[in-house]
Symmetry: C2
Subunit: 167 residues, 2 copies
Amino acid sequence: MLTLSIERLTKQAFAPFGEVVETDGLTPLSINQGYARRFNDLARIDVAAEGGQINISWFVASVRPAPIAIRLMERHPLGSQMFMPLNGADWLVVVCTDPLAPSSYRAFAATGHQGVNYARNCWHHPLLALKDASPFLVVDRKADDGNLEEHWLDETMQLDLNRIPLS
Amino acid sequence: MLTLSIERLTKQAFAPFGEVVETDGLTPLSINQGYARRFNDLARIDVAAEGGQINISWFVASVRPAPIAIRLMERHPLGSQMFMPLNGADWLVVVCTDPLAPSSYRAFAATGHQGVNYARNCWHHPLLALKDASPFLVVDRKADDGNLEEHWLDETMQLDLNRIPLS
């Protein structure tokens, strides 16, 4: 069985797949009479295709049994999908450019202060929490049409949970 | 000086001003092969006026000196504005229907698991954190036009921080 090693999540490494929603390395604006800093424009929300509207929702994710098996990838042809952890807990992100090409799969360790916005059509694994009952705010597309494609892997992969590069 | 007492934040009490972003009382969908629950459609994002686009940003708020003085209210005539705490820390929300009418002011205690979406044109106070360096994810409108009105109060109000109704 192919084991995916887990990389640190950085804006640069994730650029082919979407955006990392984080403040690291950014310069904020000072607002609210000096009582707040604002980091602007952190994700490209792309949900308006075919009359889609923005959907603000809340996911609560369970931890999957170890070793985490990667059997299913999905993508949303009509919209981006953003996940932001609400409990500061670390989590995992698995993406690929071609679900039929094992070498195109990448696994990333996201800190609890990193969100991810999957670009429209980016293949990704469903939510992978490292702590039970992890809450996430989700920003994606609302519509009744078919905005989901699934790919079940012929051969399951697994994640190497022994080395998770979190700072 | 007028002192505003602080109410518990509930969907019902906040309905004239926008939405409370929370899962309490809602029934989730089971998704991701049973490994996640999804609470859908929690806020009406209203940012498309005059070509506006959605802006995902991150605020970091400081605690203001006690007693917290209410001197300035603001509103956004072209868009809604949503705040979701990312550190689970409680915070405060002050809104009014008429900035010239002291009796229209309401103060709410939000738990760290409650976000708020101010409706377009809802008068509100800038972010009021109860813990220093509190991070919030913000969903509002991106555009260069004038989407801010401010009202400076003739007479400052203050918040009664001795009774904050948090569960």
